[in-house]
């Protein structure tokens, strides 16, 4: 029973592992290059999910202090607020994710203009026949 409680109470992390493995499978096994880029994006969002899961606490609220400017400032208990540091780190990660996605999409358009296909095996076949000449 303890083992089941341990598994069920950490459901965020199990889902994070499942989503991460879906992205990893798409990066490795799919032959279409757009599907590979999509798998990379899914992988990155899974890592962001992991960091956000680290930051959240039960019974805590978002990290904004009420009455922060009055003279009667309340005593702040950190157990009442979520940890904002992983959130800030993940903001940077999202921006990096979109810029890698844009560069990857630009490279895919160049590859399509050169080889007229987006399938990895067809591109490898064209490269092999070009080497044979």
């Amino acid at each position: 029973m303890d083992v089941m409680d341990f598994i069920i109470s950490k459901y965020n992390y199990w889902m994070y592992i499942i989503i991460m493995m879906i992205g990893f499978y798409a990066m490795i096994a799919k032959t279409n290059l757009v599907k590979k880029v999509l798998g990379m994006n899914i992988f990155q969002t899974a890592i962001i999910l992991f960091f956000v899961s680290i930051a959240s606490k039960r019974g805590a609220t978002i990290p904004i202090i009420q009455h922060g400017h009055g003279e009667a400032a309340d005593i702040i208990h950190t157990a009442q607020y979520m940890n904002p540091l992983p959130h800030v780190l993940m903001l940077t990660a999202i921006v990096v994710m979109v810029s890698t996605f844009g560069v990857a999409i630009a490279l895919l358009i160049l590859i399509y203009r050169r080889y007229n296909t987006l399938e990895e095996d067809e591109i490898l076949e064209i490269l092999r026949t070009e080497d044979g000449k």
Partner: protein, 81 residues
């Protein structure tokens, strides 16, 4: 954190991810990826990471899907797997 809502959203997220990588049409894949990003944004807003949810909604679900559809318009919708 409401764990019932959390589990339901995470299961739909996993289904959307599986559908986005297994569908045979790249335009459907792009739309399913937009749905995936938006559902993850809901998960993060529900977990208390409001700023991350906001950025993901504008940048992940908005700009990424627009880039994706632009790239498919410039290349092809065909995929073998």
């Amino acid at each position: 954190m409401i764990w019932q809502l959390d589990i339901i959203l995470l299961i739909i997220v996993v289904i959307c991810a599986l559908a986005a990588i297994s569908v045979k049409d790249l335009l459907s894949s792009a739309i399913l990826f937009g749905a995936y990003s938006f559902l993850l944004c809901l998960v993060w807003a529900e977990m208390g990471a409001v700023d991350v949810a906001f950025t993901e909604a504008t940048v992940g679900a908005g700009i990424s899907t627009a880039f994706f559809i632009g790239a498919i318009y410039h290349t092809s919708r065909r995929t073998k797997d």
